[in-house]
Amino acid sequence: MTWQLWLELHLHFCMLSLLAVGGALAIVPEMHRYLVTDLQLMTETAFSQSVTLSQIAPGPNILLVAVMGWNIGLQSAGGFAAGGLAITMGFVMALGLLAAAVLPSSLLSYFMVRWMHLHQHARGVRAFKSGMVPLVMGLMLSAGWLLQTASNPNMDWRLLILCGVSMVLVLKTRLHLLWLMLGGAVLGAVLGL
């Protein structure tokens, strides 16, 4: 990895941090476009695995950026086969990209919170808050769609149904998300999807 690419990646994630209205899931489509389609630093499989694994692990969703960084660092240094150097590189990229994704928005929150408290009923703030809702909804649905496509490139109808059932169960029941993941894993393994 050249230092220009390293710098570009970190600057891009700094920008994403400030664009992440609606949280980490809203920037999933952009990360997919940037890392998989444009720069080809990750394969579809690596991307979908990163997001999937970040869903079964506890912690804020933004940690998926650390998983992306880990994969990019590891692959750029030759993968697991390359040993210690690649693993170090994975850690460095995980920490670097996570910091880039979190620090700009955190600084903004830190310094804006007082101003927001004072102006939360102002027309501009209210317009921003509810004006972004449709877009955030659209972005989260696209994040879900891109994940589905990444895990199911051949559009297997059984996986499509599994995806739909998972969505309905989340909306209609209070079933713990870990059970859904476990169910998906068992069905996937048993049916050989």
Partner: protein, 195 residues
């Protein structure tokens, strides 16, 4: 920084207390963090009342960045300034992050086995369904949107098409859809204030 309007019944004792509390919070947050944050900070620690929490959470959601991260920064900063914000933020991310990398590491070691690959496909689409559900949860808000339901839906569909199907850069999508949507909402909000 101190916010008089947010006087709380109890307060974190130290930065270490903040760090450990947010670590514990992060380690419990599977999928939905909101419920965990509420139970820990409001019910157990009593660092905020429920209404204070609702207000802080609304602010954390309005600002860009992950909601719970924003909340940790706002809360830590309120009690101990910059170092408090850093303590809460690093608590939320450090150990949960290491645990996540350990899980990823374990899975990747076995990812070449067909059975594990199939299981990951199944989990992948189940996770995709959860993310779609998170998006779908905005439906009630959309129905009461100042723009009216149909127009709000148009912007949502436009966002979906541009991001998922046309693969536009996010900056472009926000610049186009976000600005038009916020602009129209701003314009629609006038009559309400006048009445």
């Amino acid at each position: 920084m101190s916010f008089e309007s947010l006087a709380v019944s109890k307060a974190p004792r130290s930065r270490t207390d903040l760090f450990l509390s947010f670590t514990w919070l992060g380690l419990q947050g599977f999928g939905g963090v909101l419920a965990v944050v509420q139970r820990e900070i409001v019910d157990r620690k009593q660092w905020m009342s429920l209404s204070e929490f609702a207000e802080e959470w609304a602010l954390a959601q309005t600002l860009p960045g992950p909601n719970v991260v924003n909340l940790s920064v706002m809360f830590g900063g309120k009690h101990f300034g910059p170092s408090g914000a850093f303590a809460a933020l690093s608590g939320l991310l450090l150990f949960p992050g290491l645990l996540m990398l350990a899980i990823v590491f374990t899975f990747q070691t076995f990812a070449h086995l067909p059975l594990v690959a199939s299981a990951l496909h199944g989990m992948g689409v189940a996770a995709a369904g959860m993310v779609m559900a998170a998006g779908w949860r905005f439906m009630p808000t959309m129905r009461q949107h100042p723009l009216g339901f149909p127009l709000a839906l148009v912007f949502a569909v436009l966002g979906f098409v541009l991001a998922a199907l046309v693969h536009w850069p996010l900056a472009g999508v926000i610049a186009l859809v976000g600005s038009v949507s916020c602009g129209l909402t701003w314009w629609r909000l006038v009559p309400k204030e006048a009445s």
